[in-house]
């Protein structure tokens, strides 16, 4: 088992995580507060997580969370008893064909983005300025999250939708021209808003940002900061987006996140780090580990590649040991985020096979 590096604050962070873990376990596995899914799971598992899970090392007692559960189990089964009767939001992921995977939520996404807002510089993401989100809206958490981010910073958010399910379908059926037309259709709409409304901050995906940059000088439309995510980004892609698409007066803030985790943050040192971004999960609400793909209970050593494993620990949802479809380098804790980081995130298996990811 790989060891964990201690830095200033890591002991406190670890203790905070363990306390939060025990509280979360107690919440989800108690008859008064837990949801049907986990309470039934406990009966079948034959062990009591409340009694046996004391520290985060004990998380390995759980099997990997299966993402099919989010498709096959009805949403009501995930409602903690304490939230019964309180309408929930439904966020979807994937779903190119058939029923998509869904998670329910009440306020988790608001916490993540309020916290994330504190990491943004006012110079590039001005308080009171409006945002434009160009990306997957519809049933996605991201749509509400970005609007909340704009709102907590005192602005409003405009939206242009991009349906990744349709794009995936076009690409898989070989309709490359149509996929490109659709991208241009999205960009057309984004540029129309940029030209006619006062916007200072942007959220979009790397592909759309690139495409917008081919059609205009984004900085000239008043965009100072761009928060970018949705697919993995190599250092070279980040460099290109910062240096050439946004230019020297703009600021690119890359992100790593998803519907289950929320949002991982990174140091404000994109250029200085040589565009090697290291993300830190919003611990203790979510924990990212880099595990040995062949023995997933073990962490890899620092600086080694492994599969990204997510554990989400909120009152709204408990997701133990979910294996993401990404691989990454295990990175050391920092003073700001005194727990492991993940670097060089890329699709799992990217080093062995060519993975076409360019949907966004």
């Amino acid at each position: 088992m790989a060891t964990t590096l201690d830095v200033a604050g890591s002991a406190e962070a670890r203790e905070k995580l363990d306390i939060h873990l025990r509280e979360t376990i107690k919440w989800h596995f108690s008859e008064e507060t837990g949801c049907n899914f986990w309470l039934n799971w406990k009966k079948e598992a034959g062990w009591d997580p409340v009694a046996e899970v004391k520290t985060f090392d004990d998380i390995n007692k759980f099997p990997h969370f299966q993402d099919e559960w989010l498709r096959d189990v009805t949403n009501d089964e995930w409602v903690p008893k304490k939230f019964k009767g309180k309408p929930f939001k439904i966020f979807e992921t994937g779903g190119t064909t058939g029923i998509p995977k869904q998670r329910i939520a009440w306020e988790d996404h608001l916490h993540d983005y309020s916290e994330f807002s504190d990491t943004l510089e006012d110079e590039y993401f001005p308080k009171g300025g409006n945002w434009l989100m160009v990306g997957p809206t519809g049933p996605r958490r991201l749509r509400l999250a970005i609007e909340h981010l704009a709102n907590v910073r005192g602005g409003s958010c405009y939206f242009v939708d991009m349906d990744p399910r349709f794009v995936k379908k076009l690409i898989s059926e070989g309709h490359y021209d149509m996929a490109n037309k659709y991208k241009q259709h999205v960009v057309d709409q984004a540029l129309a808003i940029l030209k006619n409304r006062p916007i200072s901050s942007l959220f979009t995906t790397p592909k759309i940002l690139e495409a917008m940059g081919e059609r205009c000088d984004i900085a000239r439309y008043g965009i100072k900061g761009c928060f970018c995510g949705g697919t993995s980004m190599t250092p070279q892609l980040l460099r290109f987006l910062q240096e050439e698409v946004l230019g020297p007066n703009g600021k690119l803030v890359p992100t790593y996140g998803n519907t289950l985790m929320g949002l991982a943050c990174s140091e404000d040192n994109l250029v200085e780090s040589g565009y090697n971004v290291i993300y830190h999960a919003p611990q203790p609400r979510a924990v990212l580990r880099i595990v040995n793909p062949d023995k997933t209970e073990d962490l890899v050593e620092y600086g080694e590649w492994g599969r990204v494993e997510l554990t989400t620990l909120t009152k709204e949802i408990f997701v133990p040991r979910f294996l993401e479809r990404d691989e990454a380098l295990r990175c050391e804790p920092t003073e700001r985020w005194p727990w492991d980081g993940v670097g060089g995130v890329r699709p799992f298996g990217a080093s062995k096979t060519k993975i076409v990811e360019g949907v966004y």
Partner: protein, 473 residues
């Protein structure tokens, strides 16, 4: 190790992404090639490319032909920058051999082919333009034989996605520069050397650096080169070229399926044609799209197969510096494995015999001095419909089948080069109406190329269209 940058319209750019190019025999990393994302390609082709054409338009065609001639000499004899080092002609041959698998003599043969084009550009352009007075491209319009003539350039640039296996094909894009069209090149993954050396030679000879894009990139970038340059040329297998089959702005150079057919009047004298048959199949290690991959005859198919097999049995792996080497290694052993297994699978289908197997007395795929080779295959098929009768592989390979003369043209399908051995005027006459041949070689091997006879598309007609012009006199 050499660090090779991207050239963004002449300006060097070092990407954070690099691709290693290795010696196919030792695995030693010979170069780290700066590899850019598609976004960079699209951005340059959207905002910068006009600079290249403007720079070229400052020269006359004659001046550019002179530059080409000078560059040809530098290419053959000079030392030019290659990334962060300097490269002599001899360095080029040795390095190209290490990464492509080609023996030195074949590297030099490819080099000579490129030299010939650069050195004798006026002949090439005469063939491409059918002797047009090229000052029309300097002046905009001219009067030739009493007729007003003007041409419009259809593209800001010519994008070329190059292969890894055939340095000689670089000769195809050079005339574009003389026609004042900048080139945007994506080198093959294992062959960054030839296009870069040519660019550096042309710059050294006086060509403006803005006229060159050299973008090692991924599929997205390659696709952007083809779609964002006004005109594109792609080299690749059928699946690659099929992707662009409906795009008339992209010229597709896929498998050639070049063939030889022998007429009734000459078939009984086939031993006299053996030298031509062997050369057509095996020259340049059978790697070119102009190599014969199919021979169709009215009779004597098995005897021809046996005779060619015996001659090709002489072709075996040899040291890279053997001046008599006739077989190239594979830079990517997986390709050799695929070829060998595909042929073996085909032979399981009844009706085909590999006569070369018996003649060589050893395995088709062999290792020699750390590299992988595929030795010649000569497959006699009892019908043209057999899966091995009309295949093409990047090695000496030929399928031989018997088809009555009067059915040949309806059966043989497309051929990049069709060599016809016959003196029968009626039979020859039927060839001129045959649409599925890019080049017709009459009583010549398929590998015989005369540069004033462009095949597989005419670059001038691809880049320029005639414009009607009327002037007040």
């Amino acid at each position: 190790m050499i660090r090779i940058p991207t050239l963004r319209l002449g300006e060097e750019y070092q990407s954070l992404d690099v691709t290693e190019v290795k010696d196919c025999r030792t695995g030693e990393v010979l170069a780290e090639v700066s590899t850019v994302n598609g976004g960079i390609v699209r951005r340059d082709l959207t905002f910068q490319i006009q600079k290249g054409r403007e720079a070229l338009k400052k020269f006359t065609v004659q001046q550019l032909m002179d530059i080409s001639k000078k560059a040809a000499d530098i290419f053959m004899n000079g030392t030019v920058p290659c990334g962060d080092t300097m490269q002599s002609a001899e360095d080029y041959v040795k390095t190209l051999s290490k990464t492509s698998g080609l023996p030195h003599n074949m590297c030099r043969a490819n080099m000579a082919k490129v030299f010939e084009v650069m050195d004798d550009m006026s002949t090439i352009l005469k063939g491409l333009t059918r002797s047009l007075d090229l000052s029309v491209l300097d002046k905009g319009c001219i009067v030739q034989d009493g007729v007003g003539i003007s041409y419009t350039c259809e593209a800001d640039s010519l994008g070329v996605v190059l292969p890894s296996n055939s340095p000689g094909v670089n000769s195809l894009w050079i005339p574009a520069l003389i026609l004042k069209v900048p080139v945007v090149l994506k080198p093959g993954r294992e062959e960054p050397w030839t296009p870069l050396r040519l660019i550096q030679c042309l710059i050294a000879a006086g060509c403006p650096k803005e006229a060159f894009g050299y973008y090692p990139t991924d599929h997205d970038g390659a696709d952007s080169i083809l779609n964002y340059c006004g005109k594109g040329i792609v080299f690749g297998d059928k699946s690659t070229t099929d992707r662009y089959k409906n795009n008339l702005n992209i010229e597709k150079h896929g498998p050639g399926y070049s063939k030889i057919i022998i007429g009734e009047d000459k078939i009984d004298d086939w031993p006299e044609l053996l030298d031509e048959l062997v050369a057509s199949v095996s020259k340049n290690s059978g790697r070119s799209c102009i190599n014969t991959s199919g021979i169709v005859v009215p009779r004597h198919g098995e005897a021809i197969a046996k005779a060619i097999s015996e001659r090709l049995a002489e072709i075996v792996p040899s040291s890279v510096d053997d001046e008599k080497a006739r077989l190239s290694a594979f830079a990517n052993p997986a390709m050799a494995n695929w070829i060998d297994s595909t042929i073996e699978d085909g032979l399981k289908e009844p009706g085909a015999i590999d006569y070369a197997r018996e003649a060589r007395g050893s395995a088709r795929k062999q290792e020699f001095e750390g590299a992988t080779y595929v030795l010649p295959s000569v497959i006699y098929c009892d019908s043209f419909e057999h899966p091995l009768a009309n295949r093409e592989f990047m090695c000496p390979y030929v399928g031989i089948s018997e088809v009555p003369q009067d059915q040949m043209l309806e059966k043989i399908g497309p051929s990049l080069v069709l060599s016809v051995f016959s003196d029968n005027e009626e039979f020859i006459g039927s060839m001129f109406d045959f649409r599925d041949a890019g080049r017709l070689n009459l009583n010549l091997p398929t590998t015989y190329v005369s540069w004033d006879q462009p095949h597989e598309g005419n670059l001038f007609e691809f880049l320029y269209t005639r414009k009607a012009i009327q002037v007040v006199r």
